[in-house]
Symmetry: C2
Subunit: 510 residues, 2 copies
Amino acid sequence: MQKTPKAAYEELVQRMKNIALLGNTASVLHWDMETYMPSAGAEYRSQQLSLLSGMLHEQFTAPEMGDLLARVEQSELVKDPLSDYAVNVREIRREYDREVKVPKSLVEELVRVTSLAHVVWREARKNSDFKAFQPTLENVVRLTLEKADAIATGPTRYDTLLDGYEPGMTTDRMKAVFTALGNELNPFVEEILSSGKEPDRTILTRKYPTDRQAVLGQILVGAIGFDLAGGRIDVTTHPFCAQVGLGDVRVTTRYNERDLGDAMFGLLHEAGHGLYDQGTDPAHFGLPRGGFASLGIHESQSRMWENLVGRSRGFWHFALPIAKSVFPEALSDVSIDAFYWAVNDVQRSYIRVEADEATYNLHVLLRFEIEQAIVSGDLAVADIPGAWNEKMQQLLHITPRNDAEGCLQDTHWSGGSFGYFPTYTLGNLYAAQFFEQAQADLGDLDEQFRRGDFLPLREWLKEKIHRQGMRYRANELVEEVTGRPLSHEPLMRHLKNKLGSLYGVARETG
Amino acid sequence: MQKTPKAAYEELVQRMKNIALLGNTASVLHWDMETYMPSAGAEYRSQQLSLLSGMLHEQFTAPEMGDLLARVEQSELVKDPLSDYAVNVREIRREYDREVKVPKSLVEELVRVTSLAHVVWREARKNSDFKAFQPTLENVVRLTLEKADAIATGPTRYDTLLDGYEPGMTTDRMKAVFTALGNELNPFVEEILSSGKEPDRTILTRKYPTDRQAVLGQILVGAIGFDLAGGRIDVTTHPFCAQVGLGDVRVTTRYNERDLGDAMFGLLHEAGHGLYDQGTDPAHFGLPRGGFASLGIHESQSRMWENLVGRSRGFWHFALPIAKSVFPEALSDVSIDAFYWAVNDVQRSYIRVEADEATYNLHVLLRFEIEQAIVSGDLAVADIPGAWNEKMQQLLHITPRNDAEGCLQDTHWSGGSFGYFPTYTLGNLYAAQFFEQAQADLGDLDEQFRRGDFLPLREWLKEKIHRQGMRYRANELVEEVTGRPLSHEPLMRHLKNKLGSLYGVARETG
């Protein structure tokens, strides 16, 4: 006797929740690998992750999954496309159709190879030795392209890869986004950099003992509402945020005694991701309805708390007195104006994660262009360092002194994450557009931040974005929340307003 | 076509190694639960562990496993009972025959219930509230007995449970061990306690800042040879050692500013377990041949490093000067004689893990008797506190002031580990007997310890015990290594020699 659609749906949900239990198990192993695992455990851990990835693939692509999906899809349950039923079925189908095309052996090999590639990359970066990384990266690229060719949902491999991170996004639309943004951003950045003005750059590089940075970081992260009873802060070389279970969201950071900004903005960034994870609907945990819309939307939350909140004047009106209590020696003579400018310092720099709000997107554009060339086969892995340095010269008029501050700086490619970088710029654009809308809905946010009141914004984000899960595609969500399609204008307005005042250049008044 | 025995064996090995990959994944989750997991993650974690236990059970008891075992068992491969083939097949068979009788649902329920019971127990202990724990413990007991009844390898349930931890051991033999030991130990303890002598007990309870305890602990653990490139030390309420992967052995401890001994002997104990795990044969990792003989043998290694090494005069000749550098304020006036006596202080106490070498086994005897009564149904869970206090009075002439220092002190029963406690006393007996043999083989160990030279003993243990894996049953291993069957005499000789001198009582000369 055939299952009722309802029964089929329930079984689908049960299977997905079990898959999530196992997937989150792999997340704990990943988190542990990056935080506490002793070095001698790396090889065995890569085998564990490989095994789990194979099991997850097998469970997710089981023929029964296809049958259950088909049973529900033919029913009345999914009639309303915004119902929980429809959203879950649509997104599981989407993922199922991609995954089912990838052989289990390839899934396992990719995980095994990238786990170990991570270690090779870390060592190569430390020694600034691209040649030591090259054969490993070639292997990762080969496997990634094999996977893209197997899935082949888009007109090009890059479309297929990009669509994996930002469902619905295409290479052409991404190019159009960068062109529109670049046309306004490039002259604006040039204008700032030739203004001859700069903040007191010594402020953030005074002596900030790392144990006290941890204290301040925990206060700030707690102040914006990250729940530490359902989360943690740990130390890693490469900061990230990982939800490893229901009620268990973990952010990481690094501390540099001579750089207060690195940890503070890093923590606000990761806690922004964490607030998204903590804000999703626990009743739908493990299902698309309780997940996140896209990586770009996820990044919009981290960039919002890092930049639109964390680099605002209101935020530091609230936070600077706290920072002065924690670091009286370093900060007692620093005014709010000087500090505010120091955290909004625009300059040509080598490292993406340390870049200011204005130049950041140029770093992303560089990666977007290079990885398209790698994926299309136009650029050999061996030629990456040359191409990188050339583009840095074009876009930022500087040349890295070595590959550690050039093409070896990011971990993404070692993990096979080609097509991921553009979601960072999407995150910036979404964030600015959401923030403008939040201002319109909630009144003077800066005034609220001055009082340490982050609740209205946080609740607004939770209701409008976090709780929506995957109900809407990213572009639909933007329209739903702001009433307009994605545009580069809110970000440019924000940058011109803020940086225009600081640097005394073209200020947008609109 | 039927598989060749060799091919069947290879497939068996491959399956076992995959099961180990998954089993060690569960170990990482356990370790994380005890160390870093935020409290809100507990419920989801118990679901993860339950799922994994069910998957492990399913994989291990798959019909193919039985077929493969049978194929190899009928072949020439296992002719030599001490060959790797024979050892692996014998032990996998043993475990398979036990596991296959337990329904998967019971395995999953036990893990889910005990994961949460651990949290309930911790809270109950904190509040010294047995009533709050009672219904949970009743549930755990019910499920544990259900499991014992399903397996039913021994004449009684307790035999079945005990055999799960100490293969080949029976309740009757265990009783005989305790009787023989008790006959000599009880009067000896009475003699010490009525000697009227005691060390300067203030020495270990001076002020020892915990961050510096961590420094000293790491030095001592490193000195005895625990490899920190393949291991870690973390903080937990309830110290343990867990091998969570190949090249990844993790010990935990707790620090109490007013008790130097708690962390130092705790660390030496756990690192003793760790040395066993690090000493097994990596080529056989995940197989019985690369495992450990029994829990009693494992405990013999921890107790050896904690007591026979860590509480020896030679050890502190080496370590006290280091401790004085780390804690000059607390220790500068302390002589080696005073310190040596302080770490060998014999007294009536409530807490097993803090008990001295002599009274420790009385604490174990108490648990052995009570858990037999629980398992046989003679003692209701509700009556545990009364029975506990009565036995404490009988054995140690003291009555706990509350259940936190009485029947709630240990975590074992919350985890369904009935039949586990006796392995602690077996560990003490094995340790003393091994140590006597090592002395005979290696010469004056105390002299070696004085020089900080722990290599000869460590290598001896590695060769004689760690590398043997499960080649021998515990009782066979004892005979193989020492040429004699297990006896209480080496332990009594050790105690009488050491404590006899300190307390000026009956000193064994033989």
